[in-house]
Amino acid sequence: MKSSRRTYFKAISSAKKAHWSDFLSSATPRSLWTAKRFAFGRRPQRFPDLPGASDPAEVAETLLDHFFPAKPPPPPLLRLTRYEDYTPITSEEISRALSKSSNTSAPGPDHIPYSVWKSVHRIKPTLLPSLLDPLLAHGFHPPSLKKALGIVIDKPGKPSYDSPSSFRVIVLLRTLSKILERVVASRISAQPPICSLIHPLQCGSLPGRSTADAALVLQHNVKTFHRLRYKTSTLFLDVKGALITWNLPPSFLFSGRRGSAHTWSSGSALSSGIVPAT
C-alpha cells in the first residue's frame, strides 16, 4: 500500500513538474499573467460588504445606483429620417474593424466573441453590413446594443471595502455594438473637419497617440518653462463622470489658447474625464 501511494503521488508530482516546464518553455508574452497566477495564486476576490445591502440583489442595486445614476429619459424619437448623403457600410469597413479586434476579448451579454463574427464575415461578407447599415443610416443606436455585462472588481489597497467607491465596474458590451462603434470611429477620424475641432494636444481616442505622448508633452512644457525661469505647476483634475453628466458644448473640451497659463487640454483618457491643465 505504501509503495502504491508513493508511486501515485510521485507520478502526480512528476506530471505537474512536466506540465509546468512545458508551459514555461512555450510561454508567450500574452501568457505572462497566466504564469504569474500559477506561481503566486489568485488573489481572493472581495465581496462588496455594503451597508444596507444584505443579499446579492441589493448589492447589485446599490452598485448600479452608484456607478450609473438614473438620468432623465431622452425625448422619444417618433419618426427617424434617413440621412440623404449617407454612405452605406461596406464589407471592407467591417473587415477593418474586425481585424483590430482581439479574439480573446471578453464578449457581452450575447456571449459571442469576435472570432465568431470574423468567421461569419468570411463566409458571408454582406450579412453584417446589411444588419448594421440601417442603424447608421438613421442615426439610431438600439437599446439592445446598450445592454452590458458589468464585472465588479475591487480596487487594491483601499482601507475599507464597505463603499461602492472601493470597487470599479468593467462594462462588457455586445461585440456587435463594438464593431459598429469601430466603423463610426474610423469614419469620424477620417473626416477632415474633425481635425479643426480636436485640440492639437488631444491624445486620447486618436490613432497613433497614447498616454506616453501626453506625458511627454507635459514634460516638455514643464522643462520649457523651467528654462525660462518661470515657476511651473501642474494641476490634474479627475472629475467624476464629467463627460457623462455634464451637458457641455464641444468647444469647451476642444478649445484653448496654446501656450497660455490657463490652457485646458484633454488628457489621455478623455472618456474618464481626466483634464490636466498646464
Binding site: 500500500m1 506530471a15 506540465h19 468567421s119 463566409i123 458571408k124 440601417p134 439610431f140 446594443l145
Partner: protein
C-alpha cells in the same frame, strides 16, 4: 460560490468547555488568518465554539478586568483581520452556572467570514436546557439567492460547415421604410436574435472537461484508479497482507 460552509468544531472526543476544546477553538481563531490565506478565503467559513473569552461586543453588560480585556482583544483582533463577523446577539447569555455565585456569561462565540455572513439568517438560543449549564445555540443559514449561469456555447467547436450552409439561405428581414425608433429597434432585435440563435444552435454547449487537471493523462487516471482500489481494500481489511 461553494455554498457548503466549512465548519470548525471542537474535536468530538473533547467535552464542551473542557480545556482541550477551548484551546482548539482559540487556536483556530488565532491561526485562521494564516491558514485561510489565498483561494480559500472565498469559501464560506464558520468558526464556533466555547472560547472561554469575555468581550464587550458579545457581552456588553459585563465589566471586564484589564487583564481579561487584553486577552480577549488579541483573539478578536485576529478574527476581525480575516475578516470574521461575530454572529452572537450582544447580551444573550450562553452559560447559566448552577451555583448562585457566578454570573451568567457569553462563552460560546460564532464567527462567519465575509463569504458566509450574508447567508446567516439568525443566531439565537431558543432551545431549553439540555441539563448542562451551557445552552444550545442555533445558527440559521438561508439559502443563497444565486442563479447558476446557463451553459455557454463552445465557440471553438463551432461547426463552420453547417453555419456556412445555413448562412447561404439566411437573409435579414427588410428594414421598415419609414421607421420609428421603436420599429427600427424591434427590427434590429429580431434580425440579430435570428442570427445569434443560428450561430448558437451550431455550437455545442461547454461541458465539464473530462480531465479537470491540465497535467492529467490517461496513465495517471489508471494509476489513480489502482491507488484508490488498493486504498479501499486496505480500509476494509487492514491486515498486514494489504
Amino acid at each position: 460560490m461553494f455554498f457548503l460552509p466549512k465548519v470548525f468544531l471542537a474535536p468530538p472526543t473533547a467535552p464542551s468547555g473542557s480545556p482541550r476544546c477551548t484551546f482548539f477553538a482559540q487556536t483556530v481563531l488565532l491561526t485562521a488568518p494564516y491558514c485561510l490565506s489565498g483561494f480559500f478565503l472565498v469559501f464560506p467559513h464558520l468558526v464556533l465554539g466555547d472560547f472561554n473569552l469575555h468581550h464587550p461586543l458579545a457581552d456588553p453588560g459585563r465589566s471586564l478586568s484589564e487583564r481579561e480585556f487584553i486577552i480577549c482583544t488579541r483573539y478578536f483582533d485576529a478574527a476581525f483581520d480575516v475578516p470574521y463577523h461575530l454572529l452572537n446577539t450582544p447580551g444573550v447569555y450562553t452559560r447559566f452556572p448552577f451555583d448562585t455565585i457566578s454570573r451568567p456569561s457569553v462563552l460560546h462565540l460564532a464567527f462567519a467570514n465575509t463569504a458566509l455572513s450574508p447567508l446567516v439568517s439568525s443566531w439565537d438560543t431558543p432551545l431549553p436546557s439540555t441539563g448542562s449549564d451551557h445552552v444550545p445555540c442555533v445558527i440559521t443559514l438561508k439559502a443563497p439567492a444565486i442563479m447558476l449561469p446557463p451553459p455557454t456555447p463552445h465557440w471553438a467547436l463551432l461547426d463552420l460547415d453547417a453555419v456556412g450552409k445555413a448562412l447561404d439561405t439566411f437573409t435579414t428581414l427588410p428594414c421598415p421604410a419609414r421607421p420609428t425608433s421603436n420599429s427600427l429597434s424591434r427590427w434590429f432585435d429580431i434580425s440579430s436574435t435570428r442570427l445569434t440563435s443560428l450561430l448558437t444552435f451550431h455550437a455545442p454547449s461547454k461541458r465539464p472537461c473530462p480531465r479537470s487537471k491540465p497535467w492529467g493523462s490517461p496513465c495517471l487516471s489508471s494509476l489513480r484508479r489502482e491507488y484508490h482500489k488498493f486504498a479501499s481494500m486496505t480500509r476494509l481489511d487492514p491486515s498486514p497482507v494489504n
